[in-house]
């Protein structure tokens, strides 16, 4: 396949960015999107042009580091995949592909397509944990049976990879899906219930301080989430938040 790539280039956080156009030839449909980017970068290096910076690491859809906004969608046109698992067979010969970074005030650009998502870390510092020491001197793991349905729901929420596609997809750049997934995981498990009140208040406070927008229930985040995190989590967090606020 021969393609035309329109890519956001920005030297650093303070620089002004712009879209640059690069043709690319002989793309194999079996390549992943990032392997196509590797080929482009090898060509750019050969021509003395600065290669395109982008975040990536595991390339198997689990580390959450890759973060491209492709043709107007976080992680591109396929569903339930990250950019690294998107394959070129989803495109056609002659296509023009526009590639931008995940955009949000809370995710400043580092360079080109790489953004700073440390706001997600800070939200977790505020309460994304169970306060148990790692001494190993806890009760036996099977001492508290947990309803399989709750355990499965907690797991589903915990599959969030923290990529930020939800924020990038949201017209308000809201982080509600991400935060609610974490809140839900703990709210559904007995281990997390003890601190549930403080956790939800602290994490939501930090989320607001980071400059993420509000949720207006459009559901774009759920559609673009590579792990299929459900909007149900947002509803659960709202309930948790309301009851925590009333207690507080």
């Amino acid at each position: 396949m021969n393609l035309t790539l329109k890519i956001w280039r920005q030297a650093n956080a303070d620089a002004t960015g712009s879209i640059e156009t690069y043709p690319i030839e002989n793309v194999s449909p079996d390549m992943s999107f990032l392997e196509m980017m590797d080929v482009l970068n090898e060509e750019l290096i050969g021509k003395g042009i600065d290669p395109v910076a982008f975040d990536h690491d595991c390339r198997e859809g689990i580390c959450g580091m890759c973060s491209m906004y492709i043709n107007g969608e976080a992680h591109g046109p396929d569903r339930l995949v990250t950019t690294c698992q998107l394959h070129m067979r989803k495109f056609k010969d002659g296509d023009t592909i526009t590639i931008e970074p995940f955009r949000a005030n809370a995710f400043p650009v580092v360079k080109d397509l790489a953004v700073d998502r440390s706001a997600f870390d800070r939200i977790q510092h505020a309460g994304g944990f169970v306060s148990v020491n790692t001494s190993g001197n806890t009760q036996d793991a099977n001492a508290i049976p947990i309803d399989k349905h709750d355990a499965d729901k907690a797991f589903d929420a915990a599959t969030c990879i923290g990529c930020g596609a939800c924020v990038a997809s949201c017209k308000n750049a809201s982080a509600m899906l991400f935060v609610s997934a974490k809140v839900s995981q703990y709210a559904l498990l007995p281990q997390g219930k003890v601190e549930a009140t403080d956790r939800v208040l602290n994490m939501v406070k930090q989320m607001d301080e980071e400059g993420f927008g509000n949720c207006t229930n459009t559901g774009a985040c759920e559609v673009e989430c590579p792990k299929g995190i459900s909007l149900e989590n947002i509803a659960r967090m709202n309930r948790e938040y309301l009851s925590a606020s009333l207690k507080g």
């Binding site: 392997e35 870390d121 099977n142 355990a151 923290g162 498990l189």
Partner: protein
């Protein structure tokens, strides 16, 4: 000749760890506040160690090259974590886990370390559950288990196909609690460039800020390396793109012995290579071998028809399939250890029975598991067990619940539906059992410098069993290092803060800056990646799944030549003081180009076969690995002397007190 003291405590095997913990020096809570510890890497080992050290009261500085500690490659581990809980009542015990791990490692690991690992394994599960890690549960609400290769019990705990992510998020959450309290200072997007020794002791590191290129000095009373394995020396592996050997290699060059570098795990079930553009390989969890059966066609005509697209695997009759693992290893069948399964796949493919275009793939088939589960479900639900369509659907639902995300991943990559047609798989580099040499306290041969998790060498011998990497990472980080490190730091309570304005830090920083400047000013013509790919080819062809003396000698010469060419002709675009992925990669590839040579030398010197190390010159008439216990029951610890292949071999003899050394058989 120099010797290494492994510091294994005296006394009966089962009491060593308990006695050791009771007798080592402690640092008082008031003094812990005065002591700084650096941790490099935030996978299971690094994250868990950082959290526990901070909880104990030390001031921790933790570094990772990713944009968040949660992204370290432990996150990609799929299948599970072992623990001798014996929840299934199938005869498991600490001893049995200890025994299986020693045998699985082909009698090349250190008994005392492995016994400790088995002892603390049960604490890990308790700890993780207390942290809210959502392990799989049964309908009674209790924890579920499954089987992994090389064992005859079900001791593997799991969270669908993403146990690694859930465990890492657990350790990350424990870190977050300490970051929030100010006890851990976290440095994301920072790469360790070198270690700094003062009076022979580890006293800090030099880092590069990957966002702006700034070179920084960080002092501490001890340095913990938790930087993972070096499988990427093969270019193609299941490791993350950024996984590298640099932290381990830098400390090796400053005096830490590097042990058993050639002990590499080639994982049998990975998605085959699709073309020259391939940047990495994707694992399909070993847990799939619980239910998947591995086969190739019996008849070469069928193989050819498949390659030409004239025949589908589902059209081949049962009697014309060769379930070669079940045929060769009836006792363990499809659940033989990884090294055995990988070699068996290579044997069939080398004989011409590979089932894809390149002839490097075998089938992993779920059809019989789908029917078996479907019948069971039909029976439970009181439906017609003879309705094949219904049974297949019910069976697919069960398989989807168990392995759904793995099947989805396979389909996205290969564009085939594994519920309908068998998966194609082939072995790929996955894990490195070798690593930095450590003593029983996990200290390297540099005082004050420790190595934990995959970065060290001690627990898996010549072959690691499935679901044991997660166990070792968390055991080292949560339950071993935080206590053993106190024994060393107890003598450091009067040292005071480490001053980084000293000639030692200055010299280390200068060397780092000089190398960076040399790279960006080199103006060569070949990209960094082109060298990495070439190195990977040499490693895979001559140092990979089977190895012989002639090939290894060639490999050493070729790697040396490639390294010289690299320094002359590599092209590193961009500047030193900016976000520059190519520059970061150049430093990592430079270290791989040295490690590769030592790797080949280690393979050459070890003329026996053991575990994942298969020397063609040393095999049984049936083609199984043939150990030479008389001459090779030792750890090869290499001391750096300049050129990697001039490294000096220091042997740590392995003494088996508890377990009788036998021929490893899974037949």
């Amino acid at each position: 000749m120099a010797t290494l003291d492994s510091k294994i405590p005296k006394g009966p095997m089962a009491d060593k760890w308990t006695n050791h913990k009771s007798h080592i020096n402690l640092v008082s809570p008031a003094n812990k506040r005065l002591i700084d510890v650096i941790v490099v890497g935030t996978g299971l080992a690094g994250a868990s160690a950082s959290a526990t050290l901070a909880e104990l009261g030390y001031n921790v500085k933790t570094f990772c090259f990713q944009d968040s500690p949660r992204r370290a490659h432990s996150i990609a581990a799929q299948g599970g974590i072992n623990a001798a809980k014996n929840y299934q009542g199938d005869g498991d015990s600490t001893y049995r886990l200890f025994y299986d791990t020693i045998k699985g490692g082909d009698y090349r690991s250190r008994e005392a370390n492995v016994h400790r690992l088995a002892e603390v394994s049960t604490n890990i599960i308790d700890q993780c559950v207390a942290q809210g890690v959502p392990f799989a549960r049964d309908y009674g609400g209790l924890l579920d288990n499954r089987s992994f290769g090389g064992v005859l019990v079900s001791r593997t705990f799991y969270a669908k196909g993403q146990t690694g992510q859930q465990l890492l998020l657990g350790a990350y959450s424990a870190m977050n609690r300490q970051i929030g309290r100010g006890k851990i200072k976290m440095y994301n997007r920072h790469e360790m460039m070198d270690i700094v020794l003062v009076d022979g002791k580890a006293r800090g590191i030099i880092t590069r800020n990957l966002v702006n290129g700034q070179i920084e000095r960080h002092g501490a009373h001890a340095v913990v390396i938790a930087s993972g394995g070096y499988g990427n020396v093969f270019f193609l592996s299941t490791n993350a793109m950024g996984s590298n050997v640099s932290a381990g290699w830098k400390i090796h060059k400053k005096g830490a012995h590097f042990a058993n570098p050639c002990f590499t795990q080639i994982h049998p079930t990975c998605i085959p290579v699709s073309g020259d553009h391939q940047s990495k390989l994707t694992l399909m969890s070993e847990s799939l071998r619980n239910d998947g059966r591995i086969w190739v066609p019996k008849n070469i005509e069928d193989v050819n028809a498949i390659r030409e697209g004239k025949l589908k695997p589902t059209e081949i009759a049962e009697e014309n399939r060769d379930y070669y693992l079940e045929r060769r290893y009836p006792a363990f069948g499809n659940l033989v250890p990884r090294d055995v399964a990988s070699r068996a796949a290579k044997e069939r493919c080398d004989a011409g029975y590979g089932v894809n275009k390149t002839g490097e793939a075998v089938y992993l088939d779920f059809a019989s598991a789908i029917m078996r589960y479907g019948k069971e479900q039909a029976h439970v639900k009181g439906l017609n067990e003879n309705d094949a369509v219904l049974v297949k659907k019910l069976g697919q639902d069960v398989v989807r619940a168990k392995y759904g995300n793995l099947f989805q991943m396979y389909e996205k990559i290969v564009d085939q539906n594994p519920y309908e047609t068998p998966m194609m798989i082939y072995p790929a580099v996955h894990y490195t059992m070798g690593g930095v040499w450590v003593d029983y306290n996990l200290m390297t041969s540099i005082p004050g410098c420790y190595a934990i998790g995959e970065a060290n060498f001690s627990d898996h011998g010549a072959n690691r069993l499935g679901a044991s990497a997660l166990m070792q990472g968390l055991a080292d980080g949560y339950f071993v290092l935080p206590y053993t490190i106190g024994d060393y730091l107890a003598s450091d309570i009067r040292t005071g803060a480490i001053d980084t304005n000293t000639p030692e830090f200055e010299a280390a920083e200068k060397a780092v800056k000089d190398q960076i400047d040399a790279f960006v000013n080199n103006n060569g013509k070949n990209s960094v990646d082109s060298y990495h790919r070439k190195l990977g080819k040499i490693m895979w062809n001559k140092c990979g799944m089977s190895r012989n003396a002639e090939g290894l000698k060639e490999a050493i010469a070729e790697i040396k030549a490639l390294r010289e060419d690299f320094y002359k002709n590599v092209n590193v675009p961009g500047k030193a003081n900016e976000f520059n992925e190519q520059l970061a990669k150049a430093g990592r590839v430079a270290d791989f180009l040295e490690l590769g040579e030592l790797f080949a030398k280690d393979e050459l010197e070890r003329t026996e076969s053991c575990g994942g190390h298969f020397r063609e010159e040393s095999q049984t008439p049936e083609g199984e690995a043939l150990r030479d216990d008389e001459n090779f029951t030792f750890v090869s610890a290499w001391e750096y002397k300049g050129e990697p292949s001039e490294a000096v071999l220091v042997k740590e003899d392995l003494n088996y007190e508890e377990i009788e050394v036998k021929t490893r058989s899974y037949k």
